[in-house]
Amino acid sequence: MTRFVVSVHIVPRQGLLDPQGKAVADSLRTLGFAGVRDVHVGRHVVLELDAADAASAERAVREMCSHLLANPVTEDFELAGVRPA
């Protein structure tokens, strides 16, 4: 068993209203960051876990995402990185 750090992005599904992203974009423009076009806010989940190898760590995390971490109705997920701890 090796310890791995796996990180995932869980993002609101394209096309859904993202009030948080909109609030951030508005605020940034109010603060003078005029170049801001669009903002989306999702979750960044970092998991430390023991697994036989990187591939099985990744497999386990994908399963966690589809089971619990992401809502299949409104969210998409993507693995952002797998590295030994």
Partner: protein, 766 residues
């Protein structure tokens, strides 16, 4: 006796600099050396710095606090415990307490306010009471600055998220905005709980051999030295202490609440206390002191969140959602089983011992040892010098009548509308609609409905009424009078709902007590509170002192926040503040006077905080309270609303528009006081006045007269479409309700809508 403790390898040498860094004065250090008969260890220095901080020791305030009245037949527990307790009949009792989280909220508004709510909840449920209501008393600088809006948004969200998640309704409070609070917001949270008298449990360690158990969340490095932090002025250096903030976990708190109440009812434990400020140190030392017993604690047994924590860190950590329990020997397994049911940890970390010492070990090594309970009892007490500041005297004695009216004031509706949009007066709905006020299905009158919140007591006909109050401007201008008014206003608010005021808790928010002018404010304000508590028969059952609320620009207004609890024998008598029925007579109980000093009118319209605050006649207040209670109980009162900030004019307008879904108009004639200036009549803040609407003016008049309370029929409730009409002598003005309502309900939302840009970082958890 001499005590023994050895420094840990790697501990720094005990130097004057290290002692000073811990906020311990050279004199205090000498006392410690004398007590121990040797040089203290680093761990001991840490313990002393926490326990002898103002926050834990009350070293500057205790002698003055002792003057407050604390007794009445219904008081079951006065000051000195986690919360005060009063009997309300039927074998039931109410536990309540208020506490400040000012400094943490100034640094991190969301977590600071949230953990303030968490702490005060634990104070109440450790008495064996189930929390049934939360209140919050807030003071901020002007809403015109982005920093203040950021603080408001964060504090309100923090209070809401925590209380909402635990499932305790937040039902009342008070909020004021004034530049005096600019760098130092005040965040005071109050909790009220319900218990059966026989379930009352005290935090007193007893029984040699009984295990001491740490319960709840694990201990991490957060908030180390929060208690001494709460006893310093805010400065640039404070900013560097930021990582000391604590993060709250209301979900764990909810589990801890259920587990603690189950533990208390199980009979397996003898004492329980929150690990609040100064964490394990203060909870264990205070429990030992109350029971006059010795204790020993092994820091290696404390469940920790991070590896490598030192005894110093474990003792001083302010990780939230933790409790210290003294169990009956032999019941450890039962205690653990109850905690396990709620998915929480419980570990035996020490024991009550016969030997009169307070001892901390790390495994076998003794790292701190103090004789007997002297750690608590030997803390020095100070009697600082008190002198009124010249600036306050100058302001109080200024002739405010000489302040010229602005041209627009020729139309008093203009002035009234401006006052209704003053954030201190305007509806606080933007705030309290973020608080779940109806969970527990017992809220008879929630925030914004009545002068105080009314919560029914299930299984009885009874209800309680609760409210926080304090006008710091009055206290600044005249501390003694201001202290009296704070109590009198809270009592009046509670009485307006039909409840008999019974007792108070208080949170004394002041500046640096070592400054003579601050200590003068403190002493006089407490004396004033005492005067009022005696006159109104509302003893003090506990409270909290928050000093050093100042920054380089100066101290906050002295703000002794009062949390009042009253009792209604019949919840059906609960009375709201807004008019209910067109055609009802509008009566004024009490007498207007030429008093503009300290008013919101002067502050908001003229930018002036000056003049003597309104007088406070405590006998008149008592008579007024008795009269309104009798009238309400006789069933004659449709609405009752006291006159506070903004005076009679604002109170009348609020009676018309505060209930947005059901506005009503009014026609009022105030010609009976030709000797008064129009602005004092409309906007002066003379105390001891209540606006009543009634279908039986004669009956209310007779009751008031019998109590010696002046009473005037000043008008009639009208339809909303009639607006609010006010006549003084030959002049008559009418305001459409929509204008008034827009000012009153729209002011804070409008100000805060500008805040979006500053609040994103306050997201907190989902």
């Amino acid at each position: 006796m001499t005590t023994h403790a050895t420094p840990r390898p790697g501990d720094p040498a005990i130097t004057p600099a290290l002692v000073a860094e811990h906020g311990i004065t050279p004199d205090e250090y000498d006392r410690v050396v004398a007590m121990l008969g040797r040089t203290p260890t680093l761990t001991e220095i840490g313990i002393i710095s926490a326990l002898w901080s103002e926050h834990c020791s009350y070293k500057h305030s205790r002698p003055v606090l002792k003057t407050l009245p604390t007794q009445a037949p219904w008081v079951l527990q006065g000051p000195g415990e986690n919360a005060g307790v009063i009997a309300i009949g039927d074998g039931l009792a109410v536990a309540f307490k208020i506490e400040s989280h000012n400094h943490p909220s100034a640094v991190e508004p969301y977590q600071g306010a949230a953990t303030g709510v968490g702490g005060i909840l634990r104070d109440v449920f450790t008495m064996g009471a189930r929390p049934i209501a939360m209140l919050n008393s807030l003071r901020f600088g002007s809403l015109d600055t982005p920093r203040v809006r950021y603080l408001v948004a964060g504090v309100v969200k923090g209070i809401g998220d925590y209380g909402n998640c635990v499932g305790i309704p937040t039902v009342a409070g008070d909020v004021m905005f004034d530049a005096a609070y600019e760098g130092n917001p005040l965040v005071n949270a109050m909790c009220v709980g319900l218990l059966r008298e026989e379930e009352l449990i005290r935090a007193k360690a007893e029984g040699v051999g009984n295990p001491i158990i740490a319960v709840g969340a694990r201990t991490g490095r957060d908030g180390i030295h929060g208690a001494s932090f709460a006893s310093e002025d805010l400065s640039a250096e404070t900013e560097a202490k930021r990582p000391r903030v604590q993060v709250g976990d209301p979900f764990t708190e909810k589990l801890l609440l259920e587990a603690s109440l189950e533990l208390i009812r199980s009979g397996h434990i003898v004492a329980i206390q929150d690990m609040g400020a100064a964490g394990l140190t203060s909870s264990s030392a205070e429990m030992a002191e109350r029971g006059d017993v010795g204790v020993t604690i092994d820091t290696m047994k404390v469940p920790v969140r991070e590896a490598g924590m030192t005894p110093y860190e474990i003792l001083l950590s302010e990780s939230q959602e933790r409790m210290l329990v003294v169990a009956t020997r032999g019941r450890e397994a039962e205690v653990k089983a109850i905690l396990a049911k709620w998915d929480l940890v419980a570990e035996v970390i020490g024991e009550v011992i016969a030997e009169p010492v307070y001892r901390v070990t790390e495994g076998d090594r003794v790292v701190a040892e103090f004789p007997g309970t002297r750690l608590v009892t030997d803390c020095p007490q100070y009697h600082p010098e008190a002198r009124e500041s010249d600036a306050a005297i100058e302001r109080r004695t200024r002739d405010v009548a000489a302040i010229a009216e602005q041209p627009e004031e020729a139309d008093p509706i203009w002035t009234l509308t401006r006052l209704l949009e003053a954030p201190t007066i305007a509806s606080k709905r933007w705030i309290h609609r973020q608080y779940d006020s109806t969970v527990r299905t017992s809220t008879v009158a929630g925030p914004g409905h009545a002068d105080a919140a009314v919560i029914r007591i299930r299984g009885t006909r009874k209800a309680i009424a609760v409210k926080t109050d304090c006008n710091g401007r009055y206290v600044y201008l005249d501390p003694r009078v201001g202290g009296r008014i704070a109590v009198a206003e809270a009592a009046r608010n509670v009485a307006c709902t039909g409840a008999t005021p019974r007792a108070i808790t208080n949170c004394l928010n002041f500046g640096n007590p070592k400054k003579p002018e601050v200590f003068f404010q403190f002493r006089e304000a407490v004396y004033g509170m005492g005067d009022a508590c005696r006159a109104l028969e509302t003893p003090v059952t506990g409270g909290n002192v928050s000093l050093y609320n100042e920054n380089p620009q100066g101290a906050v207004y002295p703000t002794p926040t009062i949390g009042m609890v009253g009792v209604l024998d019949d919840a059906a008598h609960a009375t709201r503040m807004t008019f209910t029925t067109p055609g009802d007579a509008i009566l004024l109980l009490g007498e207007p006077r030429e008093e503009l000093g300290g008013s919101e009118y002067l502050a908001w319209i003229h930018g002036t905080v000056a003049g003597a605050p309104p007088a406070c006649d405590l006998d008149a207040e008592k008579a007024l309270i008795d009269a309104i209670l009798e009238a309400i109980r006789a069933g004659h009162v449709r609405s009752a609303h006291d006159c506070s900030e903004g005076g009679l004019g604002v109170a009348l307008a609020e009676s018309c528009i505060a209930d947005e879904t059901h506005p009503l108009g009014a026609e009022v004639d105030l010609s009976a006081w030709p000797a008064l200036s129009r602005r004092a009549l409309l906007f002066g803040e003379t105390q001891g006045r209540i606006i009543v609407s009634t279908s039986d003016a004669d009956a209310v008049t007779a009751i008031a007269t019998r109590h010696g309370v002046p009473v005037y029929r000043i008008g009639t409730v009208r339809l909303a479409t009639d607006g609010l009409t006010v006549q003084v002598g030959a002049s008559r003005w009418t305001a459409p309700l929509a204008t008034l309502a827009d000012a009153y309900h729209g002011a804070i939302p409008r100000a805060m809508s500008r805040a979006a840009a500053e609040t994103v970082g306050t997201e907190g958890v989902a």
